[in-house]
């Protein structure tokens, strides 16, 4: 395909050609950044979590007398284990992603300092099994440790703790975390086990350091443990939540009992994020639609203007394919100009967002990705007008206007 005639023709329509280039450039820049943001947020939504998310349901009890609550816990747990399909049940103070952060800064020396906020979980006997914690190293708590421990002013009176793999690596880089001492607020605990990464109670606001920073303590039943974790096969969850709420309500007539599956807790936590994703997807769709309208409109205009020339070309031997390719190549050239400018612009916008909105750097492959998308969209938009151009009969050349 000869591209020189295309250039000379575009030179005579400088401004409309420039407008198409500009439009494609802007669309490319916004598209790259929007898709990047969508990708990042999708990654948040899919943050892995080292508990049995699919099998867990959480029953929350509020409004019972704190002193009585502790003694009710064994009775309630026995009743929960009696619900058909429940494989494990335990009481815990809070859950990953429950947005009521109980945070402490842990260090490896008695007077160390840290800026990482670690989520702190107290769990009753069997908590490891009920949560489905995944042991990587060391051991879980034994019965004695459960019996000896409790909480006082939200500090553990235990001597042992479990840490996550990320924390083990962050606190003791290159060393074995087992047997090491963990310090906070003038107290210390021995690490007896390392579990795979569990999400923090509020990971989007904990920063990268705090996202997988969690410490687990054993504890006797305590009034602060307002959540029962119930584990079952995933297909039984909904029924078990219903039955568990009934069971616990019947046992605690004065209490406010609520239950939900962990899957629901997770989607509630990320509801905001997924709404942002949908918004961005919609905006991208609108923008691409408008870009297509623009290309269709301008190319149709050009085709209309050049009917006579097209007729002459056809009359002197150009095939329909030639005409079709002419417009397709023209659009390809304009798109190329657009995406080159667009990629620069996208990079600039990303830099700006990095400075003002704490965005991270866009990986390089988003740029060619956006370019290819706009090339395809350009070709798609031009197809209709180009086909109409190709359908112009040669006889047009012989008619005056």
């Amino acid at each position: 395909m000869e591209i020189r005639p295309i250039f000379s023709s575009l030179r005579r329509h400088r401004i409309p050609a420039l407008l198409i280039v500009l439009e494609i450039a802007l669309a490319c820049a916004v598209l790259c950044n929007a898709v990047f943001m969508i990708g990042q947020r999708m990654a948040n939504i899919h943050w892995p979590n080292g508990i049995d998310e699919a099998g867990i349901s959480v029953i929350t009890v509020n409004g019972t007398d704190a002193k009585l609550a502790a003694s009710n816990i064994p009775r309630d747990l026995a009743a929960l284990r009696g619900v058909a399909g429940v494989t494990a049940a335990a009481a815990v103070t809070s859950m990953p992603l429950d947005q009521s952060p109980a945070l402490t800064g842990f260090t490896t020396t008695p007077d160390g300092k840290t800026t990482v906020n670690t989520s702190v979980y107290f769990m009753g006997r069997g908590g490891e099994q009920a949560l489905g914690l995944h042991l990587l190293q060391g051991r879980f708590f034994n019965a004695e440790e459960y019996a000896d421990s409790g909480l006082k002013d939200f500090q553990s009176t235990a001597h042992v703790a479990l840490v996550t793999a990320s924390d083990a690596k962050r606190l003791w880089p290159g060393k074995d975390a087992l047997g090491k001492q963990l310090y906070a607020n003038g107290k210390s605990w021995t690490v007896v086990g390392v579990v795979s990464d569990v999400l923090a109670m509020d990971p989007t606001t904990s920063g990268p350091g705090g996202r997988y920073s969690s410490v687990f303590y054993p504890s006797q039943p305590d009034g602060m443990m307002g959540n029962y974790v119930v584990r079952s096969a995933p297909q039984d969850r909904d029924r078990i939540v219903r039955e568990a709420v009934q069971t616990i309500s019947a046992l605690n007539p004065g209490a406010v009992v609520e239950g939900k599956t962990y899957a629901r807790m997770r989607s509630d936590y990320f509801a905001n994020t997924s709404s942002m994703v949908w918004m961005l997807v919609l905006v991208c769709a609108v923008m691409l639609a408008v870009t297509v309208f623009g290309i269709v409109g301008l190319t149709s205009f050009w085709v209309g203007q050049r009917r006579r020339q097209i007729g002459i070309r056809r009359a002197v031997g150009a095939t329909r394919g030639h005409i079709l390719h002419y417009f397709q190549t023209e659009n390809f050239l304009l798109s190329t100009g657009g995406v080159v400018v667009g990629m620069l612009l996208a990079f600039g916008i990303n830099l700006y967002l990095m400075q003002h909105y704490a965005m991270t750097r866009m990986p390089w492959y988003y740029l060619p990705g956006g370019a290819v998308a706009l090339w395809l969209i350009g070709q798609l938009a031009v197809l209709g007008p180009a086909l109409r151009a190709a359908a112009v009969p040669p006889v047009v050349a012989t008619r005056s206007v």
Binding site: L19, E23, V30, V286, G294, G297, F301
Partner: protein, 440 residues
């Protein structure tokens, strides 16, 4: 002449339906997207209490230890219990209110009435007058009630509806966290957004949380036998009690404090009183830092706390990017449209119309496209806002199209298209008549 141009514009738009429709649709989409986001932004950054915002101030002091890793220069948002009590007793401001929030198990004072968790705000008597809270029944409690730790409660209209079917419930009793409380008042509709007096509201929703369901005297609330948290508690230091649920802990800030200061002189004297207080605490050895106080007005406070979510600001930028693309698109399409009419314009010029007249004619046509696009964009913005309202985010409920935004939408559409139309119209007015007439 305008009427004639309008007629010409309508004729011309009808002649090339596809191109006209594309232009209008593009403008409509751009306007729909940008007005949706502008409305959200407008509602989120609005003044929650226009009649009172000028006289409400948020005092802050800095009780943190001198060397705290990762500490910012700004004092903490909340106050410790001790500072809250001290500042509350500092009788300089005409009105002041100390407050926090949590939720408490509540039921009617009747056998086997079911318990339910109700959100509550614990505050002091001046809260209602300071924040212009209207009362439907009864009134606020008195400063005396605060001092006596009286067990009284003020209900929101919605909770009164739920518990008492909307009847005058003053004098009735409720059991809140096992204690008996007497209803002294029911407030009317009152829900300033953003929720400025507690932007880190613990009851889910942060700066765009709904107002609480009931109001309790602060000091009574503090002594309740049940612990459901004490608001957004922030603690520091290697103290065995840090992070505990002790609201009176020295190293935990959580109480919110607001004062009303009616004149500039009062503001100045309050600011120096805060400094003096810090100085005094410093000398007592309780504050380790030099006086570091803030006294922000309501709107400054909202600004400082960045209550408008970053995602919303970002989406607004993106929406304007889309509008820009739509405008460029319209410029392109209008050039195409006007140049297609070159023959017609040539005839008009040859018959004596000035370049100016042709320019005006083309601008009128652009304006018609703009108004049509804007009108088409309004339902799109309405759909967009409807979709925002379906989102499970805290600020979603406030996304409504009001009259001023409606006007803004139409104006924006008109300006955008006129802006987009200037260059194509100018280009059309420069058509050489001779050339066009010759080819006819």
């Amino acid at each position: 002449m305008f009427g004639y141009y309008l007629d010409l514009a309508l004729r011309s738009l009808r002649r090339n339906k596809v191109l006209s429709a594309l232009m209008m649709l593009a403008i409509a989409l751009g306007i729909g997207a940008s007005i949706t986001m502008l409305t959200v932004l407008h509602n989120l950054s609005g003044n929650p209490l226009p009649q009172r915002s000028g006289v409400l101030f948020h005092p802050q002091v800095d009780p943190r230890p001198a060397n705290l890793p990762g500490a910012s220069k700004e004092p903490p948002d909340g106050l410790t219990y001790l500072d809250a009590v001290n500042l509350y007793q500092l009788g300089i401001a005409p009105r002041r209110a100390v407050m926090s929030a949590n939720w408490l198990p509540t039921r009617l004072d009747a056998p086997d009435s079911p318990l339910a968790m109700r959100t509550d705000r614990a505050t002091t008597a001046d809260f209602f007058a300071m924040f212009d809270v209207p009362f439907v029944y009864g009134s606020a409690w008195s400063a005396q009630d605060d001092a006596n730790h009286a067990q009284v409660v003020v209900l929101s209209k919605a909770l009164n509806q739920k518990l008492f079917g909307g009847a005058d419930s003053v004098g009735k009793t409720l059991v809140i966290a096992t204690k008996t409380f007497r209803v002294v008042g029911v407030i009317g509709d009152w829900n300033p957004q953003p929720h400025f007096y507690d932007v880190d509201d613990v009851n889910d929703g942060g700066a765009f949380a709904d107002a609480e369901q009931m109001y309790l005297p602060f000091f009574t609330w503090l002594n309740l036998p049940q612990d459901y948290g004490y608001g957004p508690m922030r603690c520091w230091g290697n103290d065995p009690n840090a992070g505990g649920h002790d609201p009176k802990a020295k190293q935990c800030t959580w109480a919110q404090f607001w004062v009303e200061l009616d004149t500039a002189a009062q503001v100045d004297s309050y600011r120096s009183a805060l400094k003096q207080y810090s100085e005094q605490q410093h000398q007592l050895g309780r504050f380790q830092r030099a006086p570091n106080v803030r006294l922000r007005g309501l709107l400054d406070w909202l600004d400082y706390k960045h209550v408008v979510p970053v995602t919303v600001r970002m989406q607004t930028w993106i929406a304007f990017g889309v509008l820009l693309i739509c405008m460029i698109n319209t410029v392109g399409l209008m050039v195409a449209k006007f140049l297609r009419k070159s023959g017609e314009i040539g005839v008009r010029r040859a018959l004596g119309a000035s370049g100016r007249a042709v320019f005006l004619q083309c601008l009128v046509e652009a304006g018609v496209v703009g108004v049509a696009g804007g009108l088409l964009g309004l339902p799109l913005a309405w759909i967009g806002l409807w979709m925002v309202r379906q989102q499970p985010v805290s600020f979603a409920a406030s996304a409504h199209l009001d009259l001023s935004m409606l006007g803004a939408a139409l104006l924006l559409a008109l300006l955008a298209t006129l802006g987009a139309g200037v260059w194509p119209a100018w280009r059309a007015s420069r058509v050489a008549p001779a050339l066009q007439v010759k080819s006819l």
